[in-house]
């Protein structure tokens, strides 16, 4: 049976591996020893802190902060996916309400706020636009003795996410465009091919190249 603790550990490793452009084995001991304890504790990202305040205290002011930060960006994401402005705002409203209602499912050891919200937005987008439920992976079963927020795990994941964001911002504009197209669902691979005349293999290797560039940026950070 897969437990949440297990997945949290692998997740942190996997975010690191993503930055390195690959997924390695699951040797967590060396990873934890080398990285987590070396870092000075820093506060969690602002967005994750707001979301935890919504989850734990049902804090409407924190929710309003989340709205001000995410709603204009979610709208941008939906416009890129081809929605009209009014339709995009309807989906944004549903996404923000889903964040409020599902906040108790948010586990900062498994996701940063932005990753969790990205997934919710994609699910709601499919459910509302295609009028069908998006096929989703089975939920993991939590082991009973597990603590919800393993502090070291939460912090390590948050910092990996923050470094990923920092690396993304430093990408060359062309590479950043490739990454944006891949994650914003603007066009499918074959549609990109049709538009640019590049063969499928080229766009894929460009994405890999861009991810590889992320790795180098991260290495420079350390």
């Amino acid at each position: 049976m897969l437990t949440q603790e297990c997945i949290s550990n692998v997740l942190t490793l996997s975010v690191a591996a993503l930055l390195q452009g690959r997924v390695s084995g699951m040797n967590l001991a060396s990873y934890k020893g080398a990285d987590v304890t070396d870092r000075l504790p820093r506060p969690l990202s602002q967005q994750t802190t707001w979301l935890l305040d919504v989850r734990d205290n049902r804090n409407r002011a924190a929710f309003a902060q989340l709205f001000d930060f995410y709603a204009p960006r979610l709208k941008g994401m939906l416009l890129r996916a081809g929605l009209q402005s009014g339709q995009a705002e309807d989906v944004v409203q549903e996404v923000m309400l889903a964040i409020w209602r599902k906040a108790d499912q948010f586990d900062p050891a498994r996701a940063q706020a932005s990753a969790w919200i990205y997934r919710i937005a994609r699910n709601r987008q499919i459910d509302m636009i295609r009028l069908e439920n998006r096929p989703l992976p089975d939920e993991l079963v939590a082991a009973e003795e597990e603590s919800i927020d393993d502090a070291a795990q939460v912090l390590a994941l948050d910092q990996e996410g923050t470094q990923l964001r920092a690396a993304l911002i430093r990408l060359a504009p062309e590479q950043r465009t490739v990454i944006e197209q891949a994650y914003m669902g603007e066009l499918s691979h074959s549609e990109i091919t049709a538009q640019t005349g590049l063969p499928l293999g080229t766009i894929k290797s460009r994405i890999r190249l861009a991810l590889d560039r992320l790795r180098h940026d991260l290495r420079d950070l350390r």
Partner: protein
Amino acid sequence: MTEITHHLPENLIIAYAACRLGHAFSVAVAAHVSLCMECRARLAAHEHAGGAVLEALPKETVSHELKLRTMAELSAPARVGLPPPEHAGIYPGAVMAALKGRPPRWRALGAGIRQCILTEDLEGSLRLLHIPPAQGVPDHGHGGLELTLVLQGSFSDETGRFGAGDIQVATEDMAHSPIAGGGMPCVCLAATDAPLNFRGWLPRMLQPIFRI
């Protein structure tokens, strides 16, 4: 369960995270992720990249009413939808959803092989295949990409052995002749983005009748 050795390629995980896959491929990806912790973690990592891109997007102007009506809705009782279908037996929840919560209705294909078509449209097809132990599946090419997820038993072909949880990604130019392993019947979920193209088994003109 034996260890999973055949995983999803990176680009399919990204495309699923970004909702750029059709329904049939999405079911196959969600089903493999249900069985595979490594791919679940890789999917989560790509959702982090997606979240990072989302945060870096320029802000669009949203109407003033949007915030007012969203805040006003916070106190409203949540609409209670149907719970998502649960994993049942060898079928992950995403497959149970495609089965509409019912057990598969198998149809004989010949040579003891049975299939159950879940969806079939212009975007692609999704089916379950039930292959007796040690039975070969006729050599077939594909019009496009085919994902085959093993749910029970195993099969082997020119590219290797695929056990429960393993997923095979077969491309257009790859003709292969899978053979089910001994022991239990092999049950697979097969997703394509184009009709399959069986060679030397049924005349091509009969294929639409058999819906292969």
